[in-house]
Symmetry: C2
Subunit: 168 residues, 2 copies
Amino acid sequence: MTEPQRSGCPINLTLEVVGDKWSLLIIRDMMFGNHRHFRELLTKSEEGISSNILADRLKTLLDHGIVSWADDPSHKQKGIYSLTEQGIELLPVLAQMSGWGFKYLDVTEELGIRAKLLSEGGPKMWAEFMDELRETHLGAKRKRKAGPSVGERLQAAYQKVMARKGKS
Amino acid sequence: MTEPQRSGCPINLTLEVVGDKWSLLIIRDMMFGNHRHFRELLTKSEEGISSNILADRLKTLLDHGIVSWADDPSHKQKGIYSLTEQGIELLPVLAQMSGWGFKYLDVTEELGIRAKLLSEGGPKMWAEFMDELRETHLGAKRKRKAGPSVGERLQAAYQKVMARKGKS
DNA sequence: GCAAACCACTCTTGTTATGCAACTGGTTGT
DNA sequence: ACAACCAGTTGCATAACAAGAGTGGTTTGC
């Protein structure tokens, strides 16, 4: 748990916090899948993280103030993980990575559709989605916009592709 | 060198390519420091990468088409590494990470100034900088804009901070 | 023409991180 | 009361990473 800090460069420091193969995937699942419990994050992710790695990453994300933790009042054992403002502001990073991956890598259609929409929507859509995340994760009040939310639109698009491919 | 590919999600795939602690730093040095030779990348970086890791990462970046390699005509032993279009398009990812790190982490003033300017400049400045990179790395012609380039402005700001701090 | 410095790496040898599977101690539902 | 669920922890094997020395060659300076 010693972090010797290699340099004061912002890119380097960011990599030291979330520059591993799992942290950003956990944050992705919290953002786009609304996974908030340990068990959800463990079993519902595409990639199959193992429980010790998940526990370790959640701990460091907590330490860095990217996620927060609270008791679930409905279940004595359950805790709820939430994104903090700092965590929510990682969305543009994820969006850019997602757009780049969609353009250059071998992305499957059903998992790429969100990337496509988010990339086409641009910073304006990202800001709107971040506002929605502030509502669900921070309990912030939000001025309701007309029509379905960004989260709903992304989810609907995903379902549509899955339906067309006959996968449920 | 086997990559079992955990899922077809664009974010995951991007992380599998550049989601380690060094790849993006190498790309950063190529972009912002114009480091193009092995030795430059090895010795001029803030963080002190070791030579075997650098060799390994350059190899995988070559494999993925993010950088390219060519003989240096002026020196039989030297090769020149260049960013490809695909590599240049990682700039927005770096810019977002840089902006986030600048806002939330303990960035030093001289290394943060570029992040600040790039963040304030927004996507428009990034596009301009990417055009400059296409010129230096791909040999693309570019319609000259008036005034100093983005690269020059970033460098000048860095020098100014260093001078004020009496560090050379 | 020759030594010293430079060049792009590779090799060897640890250390650290990752990943799987089993297990713990507790809670909830029926 | 008992099975299923919950949030992790522990032990151990394997893979990735890292520091430093070494390799075979080239260029520079004198």
